[in-house]
């Protein structure tokens, strides 16, 4: 039984290739219909995100499946050379891959949290359309568990890699908390809105929107539940604000050093944090020279984000250790899937052998009392039990060792203990009875 993943992501293929097989958020019925044609595939589940198209599956013959799926992707993408962008992993590699995906270390934005939800969705979808069974359900659940472990035991998911988050972090280094703080948003730029959303989420009390077109300011203020301000009243806005976010499209400075200086004269011991994410810049950089004024532009914020990214990179080794631990646990579980039926087969086989022999000899023991016959039969069962005790113990030990050679050992054991002739004759009997 092989666990396989085939697919492509941002590392293996550029966006123009990835978009040929992008199915994120789309109906999977056509895909289901196509994959169900492959009778070799016992279970499957798909994981589609904006950067990833992956199909996880369970099959007996991995080489045959590989051939068929490469062809399938080529037809799907209508691209003759599509297969060169695909990766194809089996068993341990597959397990490690999905665990890495769920942990966020395989994502384009290292350690991002969204992927964990996407893995959960993929599992639910597969369960809904009934394409995943025992093995893939367990694989995906363990991947979700590994992803959670990575995020709680390491700092891989800490500190969002966004400019808005960086602005919030810096603001808390000045104000301790954003509660009861007022934010003045200059302009209606998308990035500015995003930063304001972060600030509002962090507790900022009021968002004041100032825009050259007053109506636009009113519209945007409604979104944040704040106030609108015309540019003519900017000086008053500056006096009240704790944080200013510059995001206009103006080709010149909207806030000069003089503007800020005169506002600060009226509030010398109240710090002012300015975030200028506009290009060209909205705020004169000389403003930073003023006492109690802290100005950060887009490059400064990007540097902060870059630093967070570096911190996350340092966590990769810890996450990989967690993945290795969880991978080992999963493979042990998978091996037990092979040994449990074998143990049952061996037990059944020897029991059949015993009962056949007992039936043969039973008539010869008719002179014995029923109690004596029963005692002998119990003894035969006990002998079988004792004969089986050590092999069963060994089999369980083998299943705990994650080693490919064990598969050969299991096959040898199967041949040693299972009496195919008896099994066949039993099956024939069963057929006859039915």
């Amino acid at each position: 039984m092989n666990i396989i993943v085939i697919g492509l992501n941002h590392k293996s293929a550029p966006v123009d290739v990835r978009e040929k097989v992008a199915l994120a958020g789309k109906d999977l019925s056509a895909l289901k219909e196509s994959i169900e044609r492959f009778k070799e595939i016992l279970e499957w589940a798909s994981l589609f995100t904006c950067n990833r198209t992956e199909i996880y599956l369970v099959a007996e013959d991995k080489n045959l499946v590989k051939q068929k799926l490469y062809k399938f992707f080529t037809i799907w993408s209508k691209d003759e050379i599509f297969s060169k962008y695909l990766y194809f992993y089996t068993n341990e590699e597959t397990v490690k891959h999905i665990f890495a995906v769920a942990s966020g270390i395989d994502s384009q934005v290292l350690g991002e949290n969204q992927i964990l939800g996407q893995v959960k969705d993929a599992l639910h979808q597969a369960q809904e359309i009934k394409t995943s069974k025992n093995i893939l359900n367990k694989l995906f659940n363990n991947a979700i568990f590994t992803g959670k472990r990575a995020r709680t035991e390491t700092a891989i998911g800490e500190k969002s890699l966004s400019i808005g988050y960086a602005a919030v972090e810096l603001a808390t280094k000045i104000f301790e908390t954003l509660n009861k703080k007022k934010v003045l948003l200059l302009g209606a730029g998308k990035m500015g809105q995003l930063v304001c959303k972060h600030l509002a989420d962090a507790g900022a009390q009021q968002i004041i929107v100032a825009n050259r077109t007053y109506d636009n300011a009113v519209e945007l203020a409604k979104v944040f539940g704040g106030q609108a301000l015309s540019f003519a009243d900017l000086d008053q806005g500056l006096m009240d604000a704790d944080v200013v976010v510059g995001s206009t499209g103006a080709p010149h400075f909207v806030l000069t050093k003089e503007n800020v200086k005169s506002a600060m004269k009226k509030r010398p011991n109240k710090p002012l944090f300015l975030v200028d994410i506009a290009v060209p810049r909205d705020i004169d950089p000389q403003v930073n020279d003023l006492n109690n004024v802290f100005l950060y532009n887009i490059d400064d914020l990007n540097q902060v984000v870059e630093e967070y990214y570096e911190e996350r990179k340092k966590e990769i080794a810890k996450v990989e250790k967690i993945i290795a631990e969880e991978c080992e646990k999963f493979l042990i579980w998978k091996n037990t899937l092979q040994t449990v039926p074998l143990i049952k087969d061996i037990s059944d086989s020897l029991e059949d052998l015993r009962s056949q022999e007992w039936e043969k000899i039973k008539n010869k023991l008719s002179s014995l009392s029923n109690n004596d016959q029963e005692t002998i039969e119990i003894m035969t069962k006990a002998i079988i039990g004792k004969v089986l005790a050590n092999p069963i113990k060994t089999l369980k030990e083998i299943s705990c060792n994650n080693n490919n050679e064990n598969l050969d050992i299991l096959e040898i054991i199967r041949k040693c203990f299972i009496y195919e002739e008896i099994n066949e004759s039993n099956k024939e009997k069963e057929r006859g009875e039915s």
């Binding site: 808390t172 280094k173 000045i174 104000f175 301790e176 011991n269 109690n292 340092k314």
Partner: protein, 270 residues
């Protein structure tokens, strides 16, 4: 007894010396070492109490009027204040200031022989004891405010210059340090006022022992004025916070001059 006192003092010196680099690791990724530093300082605090006890055994109840005794008590109060404050405000980074103060002062007592004379009988007065304790307590609060102002100025510089790194992340916010300084200075100021009043009452009762125009008296008044102006300027909100932080640095310098510079102990002996 003397040997025991010296051994305890040496162990205290070593512990506070060891604690210092542990606190410096706060600026790296190994934050747990700061917790070890706190444990080391806690043990040092216990030893400090023991050394005060030994000092009392050595020189009797005059420990409040003995330079070594007052330094030991000051260190003890500083350590206790730090441990309580860290527990409440989680400012372990302040340990990086407290630990060196401990090993420098204990080293000073160990390696520089400081001997006080015998105290005149009429100085053995409960009001003088209160005066000394209250003044020591106020100085400790001012020292803590000084540490906080140093942290404030460092953080302000880092934010202004947009420096990256652990230091920015590990230092508390400007607002929290400002609040901390205000609280400690306010408390220190109340205690200093009480100390000066009790000192004034004592000096009236004792013949010619204290002169307001003596260097110690002038510096004590200067200290009071400086810290009072800090609190007033803070509340009238017309003075930049950074300049207020510099006031605390100046205050600390005056305290050091008052405490160490003007005399070694009260020198109340004839």
């Amino acid at each position: 007894m003397q040997v025991g006192y010296e051994i305890v003092s040496i162990i205290f010196f070593i512990l506070s010396f060891v604690a210092f680099p542990l606190f410096l690791t706060i600026f790296t990724h190994k934050q747990n070492l700061a917790k070890v530093g706190n444990i080391v300082l806690f043990i040092a605090f216990i030893l400090n109490i023991f050394s005060i006890y030994l000092r009392i055994k050595l020189i009797g109840n005059d420990v409040l009027f003995d330079f070594s005794g007052t330094v030991l008590i000051s260190i003890g109060i500083l350590l206790l204040a730090y441990l309580i404050i860290d527990n409440i405000f989680k400012i372990s980074v302040m340990g990086a200031f407290v630990a060196p103060v401990c090993f420098l002062t204990s080293g000073y007592l160990l390696f520089i022989n400081v001997s006080g004379g015998k105290l005149l009988p009429h100085f053995k007065n409960y009001l003088i004891s209160i005066h000394v304790i209250v003044i020591l307590l106020s100085f400790i609060f001012f020292v803590l405010a000084f540490f906080s102002s140093l942290l404030y100025l460092t953080q302000e510089k880092l934010l202004k210059t947009k420096r990256k790194g652990n230091l920015l992340k590990k230092l508390p916010s400007l607002k929290s340090m400002e609040t901390f300084s205000l609280h400690t200075v306010s408390l220190g100021l109340v205690l200093l006022t009480l100390g000066l009043i009790s000192g004034g009452i004592v000096s009236r009762k004792l013949p010619g022992s204290f002169n307001i125009l003596s260097p110690k008296g002038i510096f004590a008044i200067l200290t009071w004025l400086l810290y009072a102006s800090y609190v007033i300027l803070h509340f009238i909100k017309s003075f930049p916070t950074k300049k207020n932080a510099y006031l605390l640095v100046a205050g600390f310098i005056i305290i050091i001059i008052t405490y160490f510079g003007t005399s070694h102990g009260l020198k109340l002996t004839p």
